[in-house]
Amino acid sequence: MTISRFVLFGCVALVALVAFQPADDPVPTGPYELRYPASFGGRFNIPVDNPMTQEGVYLGRLLFYEPRLSATGTVSCASCHQQSRAFTDGLVHSVGVSGKLTRRNSMSLVNLLWVRQLFWDGRSNSLEEQTLVPLQHADEMGLKPGEAAQWLQKTAAYPALFRRVFGTDTITDARIAKAIAQFERTLISADSPYDRFLAGKYVLTAAEERGLRLFSAAPNSGRGIRGGNCAHCHGGPKLMQELFHNNGLDLKAIDPGRQEVTGLDLDHGRFRVPTLRNIALTAPYMHDGRFATLAAVLDHYSDHVQASPTLSRELVPAQAGGLGLTPTEKTDLLAFLHLLTDTVFVNNPQFSNPHIRH
């Protein structure tokens, strides 16, 4: 290699390095194209005043991972919603700025584009409205109304980013919520082995196939059909039905759940049916995180279903306690539940912390 060639090579390398400085990262712009399997359907929950744009999603992702959106400067949405755990936190109850525990178990943030009634009790109808709850909750991020906007307004980078998205660099809580909501709507999980099986690209093992059958079938002792009837509530390509049920955790619920929202006795101890997508990654389980493992969940449905007055009809057991699953049936159901883990989703670089450069 001659000297001049070496210098040239050095210059090219230098230019390349400079070009990869974060400050020069171009912000993508234009409408955001949602990609999802046709079987998920087009019944989105997107308000007309917050259309999805690439710049909006870009800003929302920065804000989702922004610890300055908390009273202590240490808690972001991602503290309780971690990508590696399908956007949960592995805790029974979460901890925010005050050190006190949240009332309920953190929820997985996945396929929210299709959810109309958010939270365990369905009390919020839009991601825009929902976002302000943790932001201003004393035990989560602990900010007063307007405080987050004031802090971001003083930063060097954010006002310009808000201008790109909203046409003005005045930051408001409502605009913060809109941007975060846009990012959350991109959190689509559709690439688990189960999805590939549905698309004809994955062949089930014998245990997985038996597990799927148990998951889908309603038990019928008369006709000798064994089943868990799980799909009645957790079925469909998105692995959720937007329903509220009491799945028999307690004879008298400690947390009234849906009843607190509707005031109806019939809603006592009902909670939203959570998706089973990535369920192997989101322990502990239930609204109060009472079960540490999926095996404990199956023991519940098998032997410990509490026959309270509002227990879902689908779960009223033919025999005391529940389905009475055999050890093999439990192993088969577990094999099926592990099929629902979408490793592409939890490793997708578009969903990771943008403040950390690799």
Partner: protein
């Protein structure tokens, strides 16, 4: 910011008041049906209102595969009461209307308006409040839609909470 700050936040007190109100409201609202949407007189009917309306008997096959006698108020009557475009008014663009019935557990299904109208349909879809002479059991009642003749009872919504008329876009 101290962790005691939250005690003084109005929002916090507001939530106490709200939860208090919910507790008071609990127990009421049971057996109440709302009819809303593209109607001239949105209605909230209490159990006594529904009981007072003329009832019709139909038979239908439930999930158990057996025929049962259901008694209830025809949906067409309820929609007329709320001022939906039924009968002579069910023409032109009104044929693009549909009815969404929602259950307490969040389950929902739809029926095209002509499916419910007596000038169009040969069967009477009812909001049933009794089966074989007894009130509907818990988890099914107090009200359930019954669609006689439908081979699969998936639209027989249990625990009906609301009826809404909408326009297809």
């Amino acid at each position: 910011m101290t962790r005691f700050n939250f005690l003084f936040r109005p929002a916090h007190w507001a939530s106490f008041v709200l939860i208090g109100a919910f507790c008071l409201a609990a127990g009421t609202g049971f057996g109440q049906i709302t009819i809303s949407g593209e109607v001239t007189k949105p209605l909230t009917l209490q159990a006594a209102d529904l009981k007072a309306l003329p009832h019709t008997e139909v038979t239908g096959k439930d999930r158990d595969g057996k025929e049962h006698k259901y008694v209830g108020v025809p949906l067409a009557d309820l929609l007329k009461l709320a001022g939906a475009t039924m009968g002579g008014e069910l023409r032109g663009e009104n044929l693009m209307k549909y009815v969404v019935v929602k259950a307490i557990d969040g389950y929902e299904t739809l029926y095209a308006l002509p499916e419910l109208d007596t000038d169009f349909a040969t069967r009477t879809i009812i909001l049933a409040d009794s089966v074989d002479g007894s009130p509907l059991p818990s988890g099914v009642g107090p009200y359930r839609i019954v669609v006689p003749g439908e081979k699969k009872p998936a639209r027989w919504v249990r625990e009906v909470k609301s009826i809404e008329v909408r326009f297809a876009k």
